[in-house]
Point group: C2
Chain length 440, copies 2
Amino acid sequence: MVHAGDPRRVARALARLDAVHIAGYLDNFEPHEQDLVFQALPAERRPHVLAAMRYEVAADLIGRRAPEEAAGLLGDLQEDDAADILGRVDEARLREILAHYDVEDAHALEELMAYGERTAGGIMSPDVFSIHHDVTIAEATRMVQTADDLPQHVHYLYVVDEHDRLVGVIGLRQLVRSKPDMPIHAVMTTELVSVTAETDQEKVAELASRYDLVGIPVVDDQRRLLGVVTIDDILDVVREEATEDILKMAGAGQMLVETRNFSASFRARMPWLLAAAAGGLLVAASLQGFEGALQAVPALALFMPVVAGMGGNVGTQSSTIVVRGLAVGYVETNRLGRLVLREVALGASLGALYGVGIAVAAPFLGATSSDPVHLGAVITLGMMGSMMIAAAVGTSVPLLMNRLNIDPAVATGPFVTTSVDILGLLFYFWLATVLLGISG
Amino acid sequence: MVHAGDPRRVARALARLDAVHIAGYLDNFEPHEQDLVFQALPAERRPHVLAAMRYEVAADLIGRRAPEEAAGLLGDLQEDDAADILGRVDEARLREILAHYDVEDAHALEELMAYGERTAGGIMSPDVFSIHHDVTIAEATRMVQTADDLPQHVHYLYVVDEHDRLVGVIGLRQLVRSKPDMPIHAVMTTELVSVTAETDQEKVAELASRYDLVGIPVVDDQRRLLGVVTIDDILDVVREEATEDILKMAGAGQMLVETRNFSASFRARMPWLLAAAAGGLLVAASLQGFEGALQAVPALALFMPVVAGMGGNVGTQSSTIVVRGLAVGYVETNRLGRLVLREVALGASLGALYGVGIAVAAPFLGATSSDPVHLGAVITLGMMGSMMIAAAVGTSVPLLMNRLNIDPAVATGPFVTTSVDILGLLFYFWLATVLLGISG
């Protein structure tokens, strides 16, 4: 329908869809299709659709509108959403758009954009409803009733003292159920979880999840209220961080880049292959001494892929379990030695099981050797060794990275498989020279 | 401290920690340590700690208490949490515990446990506050004020008609701000998102995230209200599903099993290695025809790991991007062919880049060959081929699985690396026989 480009049919179709669905389509459309659909939307629906789109795509779309129109559209969004989109618009365009804001609003937006993208400040909404601790329940209720700038997702009221410092919180439900003449400070909860603007967004999500909160207040070093991180943003963070960890572990970049953009994909993925390529060269160099053995028993080469592959698989299992376990707090970081030993024992058992199976099957597949028993032993012990090395590397590398405060998810996958290729195959060939009595 | 086993010191330490922290420690303790700490807790704190623990660990702990005490502890939890824990207690123990409930409560719990674990029914709370649509705002407010069984996390009131059918929703904030004499049906929101008890939990999480909701009502086929899924459970679902996807992709099981339990780990990981082992045997069998080539040019074996490894890495990148993209809705499933072509082109470009690099470096590493130029060509083209195959397999396998309604995350990793090992290395050796003029 969009391809046909009939604006009236597009408009009729849009009237039947909600903003979230339209945004979902726009996220996957080509730029000219996005513009056509956006144009066909009634003006009052545009901000809703924009707010529901992915920030990167919304920023591109906004960048293609006239600066004045862009400023108008963004002005109808919540401030934190507007800042998230504007933060992804290029610098020159950003200046042009901000020029259409009044000075104070532009300043507020710039302040929001100044916070680190992955911090509480970067995801918080500065619209937060706070009340003085001496106010009564009846007065507070009246304020909620008459406020015309009440933020969209209010579930808690934050209570501040005369220095604007956060001293407590009261839920709407508590407000409704308390006696009208009580002062707020007598009914509010004073044990509350708060974060600073610099707190990592992952930490904020963890707190919300552990304490079952739908909003977490953000305070400065004087405990003055700066804003609130709401649960809808926290949900996005949890998804985003999971995606990031998955991609990093696979060495596939840090975020899902536009799948349409070839050169962006190329740039995101190229560097991660460097480890594997350098590792591959190292493997070739280190196995070189065994050319003689290969010439004597070429069947050795046939089992290189399974020795390296099984090791790589076990290493990936170990490192994945450790990396994800660290992310969700399942790993006892104080018991490193025990964990590594346990994984190595697992690698040895799994290696023995599969190694014997493959060694027994080998002759039937026609792997020729003058000495099938010793070749079988080389395969079995080689697989066990490779899988033990893999388990040790896969477990200890992310644990050590975590201790050194390096993100354990970064390229764990390629690193583990490459080091297993080198160490596992070296061990395999060393075994071959010893057990088959051939010189390297 | 727990090791020393001094109950008084443990009790003093516990007094300084909140329930969530204590639960976090308990999750990682040995059973006898858990019992010791739990015993040292004041009785009124025990349900809070229990509710914050991981369900599996809480179920084990509950299973070790006397049935009567267990029933008492669980009676203080929210019904959905109690059902989640009880659902993990073994059958005989469960009967003993339920015998201490009154018949009606036991029945309600059993009903909750009967819903699929990963469905809206399985994660919903049956405690939901609903009001009749003819009630006025003032009356509804009074009901909220006086209800003594108000669920813990009430942010919305659900509105039902005379047949108990869900017809609308009103937020507490809207309730506070509306005129007292208005009937609820005049101010409620009638466009509301609801799910059925059978809806997959992943779908529920997606809806909450897209529509920024802190609760989603669950209805039966008559639209009668069964319960509500609250945001805290949704947050847990998002984390759990991400963990599951990560582990499945790596072939490391479906959930993070107790890292202390050796045999559970062995059982969870063994089957996933079967694909790699079977694949390894297939590789050995299919490369067998090239033993002659290996004897003539043993240097070919040195570059097998890098050809297979680079392919495996690219394949993992492609499949990870597609699997995660499908999970978060970034992938245009209607453009399968284009996506595969693009990934194959990426594989070819990356393969050309790294292939030339490795071929040029090969002679310096001392890879001896009577024909270094042709060996270089075999390495470069072999890597390009292997990486193109990997990109094609890595992209199309999860996309096809998705079309066939099979979870694309299941063992994509091992499957992709194994098929790349086979196809990539076959291509590499075929190239060698052609370009180096040796017979296979």
